[in-house]
Symmetry: C2
Subunit: 443 residues, 2 copies
Amino acid sequence: MSKPPIINIGLCGLGTVGQGVWKHLSRSRGELESRLGVRLVLHRAAVRDLKKARAVKIPAGRLTTDALAVATDPSVHIVCELIGGTGLAREVTLAALRQGKIVVSANKALLCGHGAEIFSTARRHGGHFLFEASVAGGIPIIKALREGLVANRFKLIYGILNGTCNYILTRMAQEGASYADILADAKRLGYAETDESLDVEGWDAAHKAAILAYLAHGAWVRTGQMIVEGIERITQADLRTAAQLGYGIKLLAVITRDFKENELFVRVHPTLLPRERVLANVNGVFNGISVTGDVVGTTTYIGRGAGQDATASAVISDIADAVTLLTTGKAVALPEEAAALHARGGKRVRLAPLERVRGRHYLRLTVRDRPGVLAQVATVTARHGVSIASVNQTATDRRDAASLILTTHQSDERAIRATIASLAKLKSVLEKPLLLRIGDFAE
Amino acid sequence: MSKPPIINIGLCGLGTVGQGVWKHLSRSRGELESRLGVRLVLHRAAVRDLKKARAVKIPAGRLTTDALAVATDPSVHIVCELIGGTGLAREVTLAALRQGKIVVSANKALLCGHGAEIFSTARRHGGHFLFEASVAGGIPIIKALREGLVANRFKLIYGILNGTCNYILTRMAQEGASYADILADAKRLGYAETDESLDVEGWDAAHKAAILAYLAHGAWVRTGQMIVEGIERITQADLRTAAQLGYGIKLLAVITRDFKENELFVRVHPTLLPRERVLANVNGVFNGISVTGDVVGTTTYIGRGAGQDATASAVISDIADAVTLLTTGKAVALPEEAAALHARGGKRVRLAPLERVRGRHYLRLTVRDRPGVLAQVATVTARHGVSIASVNQTATDRRDAASLILTTHQSDERAIRATIASLAKLKSVLEKPLLLRIGDFAE
């Protein structure tokens, strides 16, 4: 038997994820090699600081500060871009793809901001871009959408895609503590970044939603084209009222496709999810994704959405797929075959105007605690054609104010936004109303 | 551009699943063709009766009664074996593999009974055997274990793999009706076979457990080497007591691997699953699988475990993988590379003696309702070193008898079996004790 071919791997970036990949790949290399029929060599790694102490031991001769040199090294077959951000990471990615290499990446921001450029560069030069780790950490959701569910068109995909938000909401629900307190604790424990805005405002989940929407529907949706709302204003009153009504509150990314009108809706918002749905019981840092296909029905995927090890698991599965690509010379229905993907559903999909998103809503109003306020509020909602399903009134911290919590029947985004604008103008409404969505999706 | 190559598909068997594959493949063919870069032709289909009325319309010229002729037709590239059973299905499979063809199958019984023969035939002749549909219907669990989680070794895999049992147990828990009543209704509604024994006695789940164990650990475990217990003796008393203790009851397949001792345990039994576990809330005909890898942690997969459409979704994903195999000429770390798979975990795994399975147990005894019985029972358990964690006594239908329900602390299978044998000999114990397992697995 001939010697197995050598596959050289270059790592760009040796932060948390990079070190995880190095550690687990070193440990499982023998098994992977025998499964894949190659020799895997961790050839070079690019770091910012050669002298920094690292948990994994890497021979000094393998380290460089020049990430571009690793990406364009003719002996490197697979480039793992684990730098993060969209500056050097983009340069490294494009440089490697231009040489026809395979790039493995966990970088959702890069993919969302420059996906079209990345895939067209890959196509032009025969390179490939693999990104299992970019969404939902160790859950193999990219492979499921791309390969496992290839027979399906997806009318509904929704999921908990941000572990930080889910951790905060879970602890708030379980401990009865305030958003601010739990956020501070999450930062102390390393579950939230120093600047938490990307996570808690919904942008991170929106990036991941864009990637799932691309995989399922072949169109890149920009975050500016989505409804994106965060969890910052959620209070104990919301969690308690939701629980009374039979719901948990989760930050969800929701991707719906109307095949009749051929329209796509993408949105990220805190959602009242009926307690009996599986994802309502996915807690802590876990992610969960529910995928409804027209053939398979609903399948659900749950696992750790981030962290060194879960992300490394996904990166290594991409490395294994990259090896197969290298040894066979052909891709397995990869999503850069955008033209083909666009054909899912027969024709190119249109992004639907956001005003047309339909659903049931939850409104929390801080109102003057005096007679007649409910009548005023009900008059406004009726004027906009929004029909009220339930009303709860609870006390607030302020002596003169009460929380008035409404749920509505189905209405569209235009009507609910107009309602909120009108409500905000009432003298008896003391704060900007809080809008949450009710996630009684038809699976 | 050159014309896309033609891939001819032969279907052997046009029952429920076969018709589902024909229907969905006909509908999605255009999209699949553009993704895969080939033309897909439903070339021939073998049936038992040419004249039988079918929901899908198939030109008479494409039908034959000779399944072997389809399997060995030189123009057929992919053979879908959807006959079922282990007679003609095995002949068809082996004949196609001997010609180096790719066989796609949903046949778990065939794979369990003849897996080693099938994979060795495939290896010898350059054929391939794909079987995503054989476990958990439309959930892409085979692909997840084989590719998505390739970086992992699996210390624990457990799951609800039989939809009929889950349907019966769910309705019993929700409606308070007896096993016999729900089973009769399930038969009437088509959720249970006329002869239900394969499902309710656990054999179907055991077949699927064998396949998962092979994928994860590279060893074929025969059902005779597993603990296999069914759901037939579960009563409302069991469900109620379990609920009081914080558990739901599910028929689970459990595959554990001790990497230190390099031992494998495979078992199928009704299990008290803590209510907060995700799988405790997977209800009705749904299947769910929880996979704990040493890198990724625990990931969970949920979906329809059977039915025409879910199974067709899985078969079609295998057809897509088969096309990639045909156009690239090389397998993607397929499990027939058994030698390599065996290496997962470093060395060939040993099947552990069943007596060594450890866990907590639930025992229901029907006892004479008189003083001193509990003391007798406790003396017997103590003699076998089995320590009691809780005791519940409830009424039975019989005036002179009570149900005594014990849960135990950790003990091994040998001790609990010896305990049951001794208890059964007590005069005050009126029926064979019922043993259930408590599923407080360390994930």
